[in-house]
Amino acid sequence: MNRIYLDYNATTPVDPAVLDAMLPFFSADFGNASSIHTFGQRARSAVETAREQVAALLNARPQEIIFSSGGTESDNHAIFGVANAATASTKHVITSSIEHEAVLNTCQALEKQCIAVTYLPVNRDGLVELDDLRNALRPDTVLITVMHANNELGTIQPLSEIGRIAADADIYFHTDAVQSVGKIPVDVKSLQLDLLSLSGHKLYAPKGIGAIFIKGGARVRQFLYGGHHQRGFRPGTENVAGIVGLGKAAELARISLDSDARRISILRDKLERGLLSSIPDSRANAAGASRTPNTSNIIFPGIEGEALIIALDLKGLACSTGAACSSGAVEPSHVLIAIGLTASEARASIRFSLGRHTTAADIDAALEIIPAAVAQLRQLSPSYKKEAAARS
């Protein structure tokens, strides 16, 4: 049976070419990359090739790439690593209010260590205002961490401007680029980044593999302690197959990024325009901002997001109310609240995220299924009928 998957921001399928590249490293080439013998050397060589592939995608040097278990570890490593390496008697970190929990909760943990944190507000389009950032700078600010693309809205933060401010003030600059790497160009040099986190499973590599870029010379305390792997800086026997997959995925992304982005943004725009024109009172969130080409977040007033997600899944269409982690949660998305939505508007918002395998036929089918499901839900929504009656 056919299902339509419009939840690529939650995770992506492993690309067949990535899977092919990985498979030998589960069996024939199973060696430990730290071993001296030929088995180990084959694994080592594959790991270092992958490091070069990831570095090439980011315009970084291979030795600036450390493999990790994923985006969450990379974010923790970057934020704790910079904050704890700084020697000042008081320390301050600046982040935004719409970060992923991997950053937000890490910053909250810093606060428990008596490190001050400023959570920058965002405007209606989900963008950090540069004046707010400038005003937040303090003499003891040690780190600015602002995400590249938002997972729920797709909004792209002005990282080059933020990078310039950070460089001028001589403050470390980290970005959670989990939602941008592979979707839009990411150049650590032109963005003046000191640290960057990425995750494999958002770009057609498997889950459980990620990487952190740390600019040469940056003072970052290590996060895990153990053996000598990855120069002892991130110990633990390398996940060779995962690393190979991430490398291959990075290579594929570098080659096909432009054409993918063009094709996907046309489909996304078609979906968004189609939904907005066929569903009364619907509106797109953060549509005024520059967004990743694959993401659309739409409010359907009068519906409960939870009900629509289930109704659509029963009809074979997968999408999401926001961060995958917040499903089942009562609290409305902190991102949607931060851009000024009410709790009920936030609960009525749905995220559609497209990807490499989304077809025009998928979008045509979605444009049939979604308006019908919204109409059915509104029929059973006491509050929407009341509001509609009040308007007419």
Partner: protein
């Protein structure tokens, strides 16, 4: 992308007529409902309600056996395992807000007002058969099936849906369901109403349900270890209204002070143990007076009364009768229905007069009015 995944439950491409939502707690009863409906060849979708955040009131004990805590991840996991085993779609739906507003808060307020509430009835009327039934319909289901032991039938002559006791009298839960409206009954199914508990377990084993041997939960789902006093204290603290100055007098019927109590919510009518003082004869709680912060105690004889009124009465299987009628009335879950005369009073009230006095008629509990197996009506004891 057209994902070709054989192991996924089939998507319901069109609005499938007859789709039934099954309310699944993760226990053996509601899991068996799913199996029974599937055997009948009916399309189903499982829904498990998330009603309470286990991270709240963390000072309460009872992290232990998960089956004694509602909405534990284990119960949700059990429901999901059943859905995977039988291969039908399953979702968790969140009603934490509704559950707190309509069940937990009133439960606490009633106890503090000297009454003895039944949270399960509120949960049925105000959560399961209201927001859950609505959510079921929103996702495309026409009806809601639950694991209640009770029966529904349509009376072709009156056109009304009637609520009946379960065939297995020892499992009957009709007492908790008197609040259902005709609309709710018309969209509800109780597939276990014709089965005994043993038959249900046998069925569960037959289809290899992973929860077939799961022990039954008898306690209030949100109160760990059945210790409702601790729960009320902890909840009141959490919502910023800690219970203070709770102590008061325990008095005899003539007002003589016999001892002291530790807060009216610690007592229920008919209670004998734990009063904290000794007299020659056994004494029982006769009444709770929250205004004067007193517990009134006396002999067993004084507990027995004949007549009382109920409010918020819901007439189910018949229209409200114009003249007094004979019926049997059940005044708590473990009470055998006793013969009585029932007279409807304005507005949505009724007076019940038992043929012989009944013990411990308790404000806050419900009275269900039966004629044989049929639930005629129910209401809250004033």
């Amino acid at each position: 992308m057209q994902l070709q995944l054989d192991s996924l439950p089939a998507a319901i491409a069109e609005v499938q007529p007859g789709l039934v939502a099954v309310a699944m707690s993760g226990g053996v009863d509601s899991s068996t409902v799913a199996a029974v409906l599937l055997q009948q060849g009916r399309p189903i979708v499982g829904l498990t309600m998330q009603l309470w955040n286990q991270r709240r009131l963390s000072e309460l004990p009872g992290e232990g056996p998960a089956q004694h805590r509602c909405c534990s991840l284990d119960d949700v996991h059990d429901a999901k395992r059943v859905a995977q085993r039988l291969n039908f779609p399953h979702y968790v739906v969140n009603f934490e807000d509704q559950f707190e507003q309509r069940v937990v808060r009133p439960f606490v307020e009633q106890y503090l007002a000297g009454r003895t509430p039944i949270a399960c009835t509120n949960c049925n009327t105000d959560v399961k058969f209201e927001p859950l039934l609505l959510r079921a319909r929103q996702i495309g289901a026409e009806r809601l099936a639950t694991g209640h032991y009770a029966r529904i039938r349509r009376n072709e002559q009156t056109g009304r849906y009637e609520l009946l006791r379960a065939r297995d009298d020892s499992k009957d839960q009709s007492y908790f369901l008197w609040g259902l409206t005709q609309e709710q009954l018309s969209r509800s199914e109780f597939p276990l109403g014709e089965l005994t508990k043993d038959e249900v377990r046998a069925l569960a084993r037959e289809v290899n349900l992973p929860v077939a041997e799961k022990p039954e939960s008898m306690e209030l789902c949100f109160v760990p270890n059945g210790n409702y006093v601790q729960f009320i204290n902890a909840y009141s603290r959490e919502v910023g209204k800690p219970i203070s100055h709770a102590q008061g007098d325990i008095v005899a019927e003539d007002g003589t002070v016999l001892g002291h109590h530790t807060g009216v919510h610690n007592y229920t009518i008919g209670q004998r143990k734990g009063l904290g003082f000794a007299t020659g004869k056994p004494v029982y709680v006769l009444a709770i007076d929250p205004e004067k912060n007193r517990i009134i105690v006396g002999q067993d004889d004084s507990l027995r009364t004949t007549s009382f009124e109920i409010e918020n009465v819901n007439w189910i299987s018949i229209a409200e009768p114009a003249v007094p009628m004979r019926a049997e009335v059940k005044i708590r879950h473990k009470h055998d229905p006793a013969p009585a005369t029932v007279e409807a009073l304005p507005v949505n009230c009724a007076r019940i007069t038992f043929d012989s006095p009944q013990r411990a008629i308790t404000p806050g509990q419900a009275a269900a009015i039966y004629s044989g197996a049929v639930v005629l009506a129910g209401g809250w004891i004033k």
